[in-house]
Symmetry: D2
Amino acid sequence: MIYFNSDYLEGAHPALMAKLNETNMVQTVGYGEDEYCAAARVKIQNACQAPEADVHFLVGGTQTNTTVIAAVLRPWQGVLCAVSGHINCHEAGAIESTGHKVITLPTTNGKITAPQVQEYVEWHRNDESTEHIVQPGMVYISYPTEGGTLYSKAELTELYDVCRRYGLPLFIDGARLGYGVMADGADLTLPEIAHLCDVFYIGGTKVGALFGEAVVIMNPALKKDFRFIMKQRGGRMAKGRLLGIQFDALFTDDLYFRISRHADEMAYQIRDIFVSAGYPLLFDSPTNQQYPIMPDEELAILGKNFGYEYWERTDPTHSGVRFCASWATTQENVDALRAAVQALKK
Amino acid sequence: MIYFNSDYLEGAHPALMAKLNETNMVQTVGYGEDEYCAAARVKIQNACQAPEADVHFLVGGTQTNTTVIAAVLRPWQGVLCAVSGHINCHEAGAIESTGHKVITLPTTNGKITAPQVQEYVEWHRNDESTEHIVQPGMVYISYPTEGGTLYSKAELTELYDVCRRYGLPLFIDGARLGYGVMADGADLTLPEIAHLCDVFYIGGTKVGALFGEAVVIMNPALKKDFRFIMKQRGGRMAKGRLLGIQFDALFTDDLYFRISRHADEMAYQIRDIFVSAGYPLLFDSPTNQQYPIMPDEELAILGKNFGYEYWERTDPTHSGVRFCASWATTQENVDALRAAVQALKK
Amino acid sequence: MIYFNSDYLEGAHPALMAKLNETNMVQTVGYGEDEYCAAARVKIQNACQAPEADVHFLVGGTQTNTTVIAAVLRPWQGVLCAVSGHINCHEAGAIESTGHKVITLPTTNGKITAPQVQEYVEWHRNDESTEHIVQPGMVYISYPTEGGTLYSKAELTELYDVCRRYGLPLFIDGARLGYGVMADGADLTLPEIAHLCDVFYIGGTKVGALFGEAVVIMNPALKKDFRFIMKQRGGRMAKGRLLGIQFDALFTDDLYFRISRHADEMAYQIRDIFVSAGYPLLFDSPTNQQYPIMPDEELAILGKNFGYEYWERTDPTHSGVRFCASWATTQENVDALRAAVQALKK
Amino acid sequence: MIYFNSDYLEGAHPALMAKLNETNMVQTVGYGEDEYCAAARVKIQNACQAPEADVHFLVGGTQTNTTVIAAVLRPWQGVLCAVSGHINCHEAGAIESTGHKVITLPTTNGKITAPQVQEYVEWHRNDESTEHIVQPGMVYISYPTEGGTLYSKAELTELYDVCRRYGLPLFIDGARLGYGVMADGADLTLPEIAHLCDVFYIGGTKVGALFGEAVVIMNPALKKDFRFIMKQRGGRMAKGRLLGIQFDALFTDDLYFRISRHADEMAYQIRDIFVSAGYPLLFDSPTNQQYPIMPDEELAILGKNFGYEYWERTDPTHSGVRFCASWATTQENVDALRAAVQALKK
């Protein structure tokens, strides 16, 4: 069985494991106050060209989204988000559990637009019953989106302009940030992304780490007391160094970007396998997640030897499914998938 | 200026004021443990043919919806609701503030159907990521709905059947219950409604009281400790007798039903005024709220002398608006409205 | 049976009932946007000598405390409070239900001191684990306290100085404010209280109204968006005018102060009744609540004809209990109590 | 510099690192549904002699306490806890952030007693204002306590009896469980602990793992839907196998118990070092945490070469501090500490 279900099927990139092994018996203080975390923070600040940014390490994506959003909003505010956004769909109500509504905007490609945000806020402000309606307090987007798509520099710039005009902090969920930055056609660098939002995070769990997400707070107004809420939400590891050690390794010699590019290239092969075989795609994704639409019968055959993630039913006999590549995807496994898909067509 | 904006424009029905005046200097214990509340509870149990029901009095609708829903759900559960439901639209995020997602189902007439609920729950249960998705934990409907429409007995029966099959308590928001029960064509009596749900409330604020909503808990499993959460949510009045006194009066000599019928009849005249003048309606409402769609220019003229509530833009030059009747609406004011609308057409 | 259990045994002062009756059929818009609320706001601003203050009306004390505290704090902050404070003891966990810890300071007389607050904050800031400990974010006191005692002008000034020095908003729970302001020996006027805190409320429920509390926000930084959270917490009455009408009456011709003074004077008679009979007092209260300590046997006899509130056991055969006076307490009832207590001693 | 500050100064026990390295490139599904987690669950069930128990893996202690307590309580309930309990002191208000009060009971040694719980619940039930007071809904204890002390079998049995009599689930925080079970004089085995509570957790972070806590749910009534709330609270790792791999190793060949015993033995040497030198102890701890009380001057000298954790000031010139041993503590470092302490006395 070969798995393409997700980008968190294996442990960590060997360079990270090596550093974890090498430092295992060193004594450090806890909760992220150690020298490894300090070093990793500097490397991330440098990579973002943001020496003033605050950098904090958390364990996973749901925890990170919840902590950031709860830290930004006031009790009567909600977060604007694409209806397909991870916080709306797949976090078991974590945002609502902190008291905040996820206010959804429609989308077909996982993205929301500047005019959508502007129109919503204007409608809210001008409604007679404005104080009876949850106040939009920030905007959440993911880059890449849950469908693997990307905002262009023009789109993100326009969106951030609207956010600033209305005083809405913009938060970018970068659980798969590397796969976006390194994608064919992507026109946003890491420093550009950093400077086009108020706070974002650099995903580690899905990009080579055992676990870990690095929150980068760009807007000084959002920095105060963040470590208090991290602790409150269970987000400060006793052995916080584990996060510092891993991010230090990821941001040494461009490892984060190199392994992201490898995954994207493997994903392009996977896309070609399905497209060449005549399968349409749910999303036009230039990143590591690919979503072919296949007949259920053929999926059943393929599923005997290959793992994928079921996404959604598209009609009574077809389904959209997800195949992911990652830093760990091998050419050998992709070749095996190619052979299997081609065999379906014979 | 004559107001038709809402059904809470005046104080209380004179019969209630009389009883409040009459009892004003009587000493009673607080927090709803007094004899007036006890008497009102019995009258409501009788009116519902539900001698075993628990009856509690709260001050307003948002407080009531929040308290009931927070009492029923577990932390990882959400409440299924029409996208137009009051808890989703006009309670400033009160439900989310208790940690729960409002899970919306599409609707055009304010109602949701048994198959919609069934399909959603089946989808949730069978999704690979079920534990990553908020668990539906109860169903909320309003009767009448926010558009003034009504569930038929067949519809409510089928919905409640599905709810019971899936273990989802059904909660009916009856902020305007009287206007529904007494509507032309309504085929549900108060006792029938009571026995086709797990918990509901009988609205007083919009049906003749100064304020007050009577929660009726039919399902024994939901009764325990409800007064604790009422207190926690600020829902137990020190002078709780004020609620008992008013509900006692409302449920004496069918006052609640008589004033509701009056409002419906006034509303039918209002509907006829607009329909006769050729205006379409947003909703086909048999209850006290009527929603004509009018050209903005004519609304501006009418608005000089008549108050209404803006509902929504229907096209660049037309809007849907709300005209309400209540226990206090006079024939004189309705006649004035008729003359004004007819004048628009000349 | 004559009740002295509390100060909310009757309805409203007749002047308020008169005004409610008189305005009953007037049409107004809802949710506190009416002209009665506007007029009452001005009268309260004038009474406080605080023309810039924001004034909002809520229904009850628990709702008011919860709404104010939730509006002020950030998620990782708690509220400093005497261990005997109402929010810690008798609100069924309402504050915690909004996510905030009530951080208690010891007290014997219901008051906390400036040095206590300073010491706590300094300890918190200097603890190695500061980020693992709830951050104190505001200070709550009650005036009068739950034991009927009062802060002197010197004490409140010193406390507010410390609060400002540490950036902690000071909130005064004035559920019984009138009884404090008019007490023998009280050296704080209403305007002085207003200017020695960031936000406070003027209690109506326990001082002559059917219900209602007037929140006065002095600190401009706390004003923004308060009506959103009022709505979210169920604190905006549809017929908000009921609050405006009552507070308008209370702040016309010094009614609020006159009825408060009456209650205090009745309470002094009650205190003398018990002290003359040789009973010690739990608290040295100059306000409308008096707390004699009595043998359980004598309480049982007295309880046959007089209602009081049980407070606490002081030893195996004695209990401290509460007798309250209010605007409605009559000389006749106090005389009856005197006779009954004197009879116990024969 | 040699650190004795805590038991989470190093990475993981080498046996765990070996297994993490060995399995690093194996593909598994995520979120704890993998075969390593399955195997670890069985080993823990066996170690607890509780084949029916549910076992779930979370990342850290605050997350675990919060998730368990939020899963057990209803909104109007609080958790009874020693005033020194970790959830009350050092979790930044995590419990309150889920809406629940931590109801504290006094203690001098970190433990609470069966009579204390009984008395509190009886007082709550019989208070006139019971519905105005947070309802006690469960009991939290730690084993060992925050002071390193242990409940005896008799004490825990009596406590659990009271809990069951009053319907209060008992939750044991076992962040340092191994150090308790293996302590001199401890008369409770792991299976006995498991069967004397409703839910507990076996700490990994402080007992040899990189991170990880194993929740063991003994009471069937508490099992339902626990994975939903784990996800909601950010407690399900994408690479959940990391937890399974580590707990599998810890529960192979009694590793968990062997390394715990090593730590306790090192701690006894540390205790003897201080006691022999004439320093009193804050707590009489038979486990891996030792708390000497020392003059501040001598602490300053010792602190130049040895790390410890500041605990509390005991008088103007003395402080109680914590020295911890762990699986990683070496004889060499303990000898160095002995020499340094003896040198203070010369």
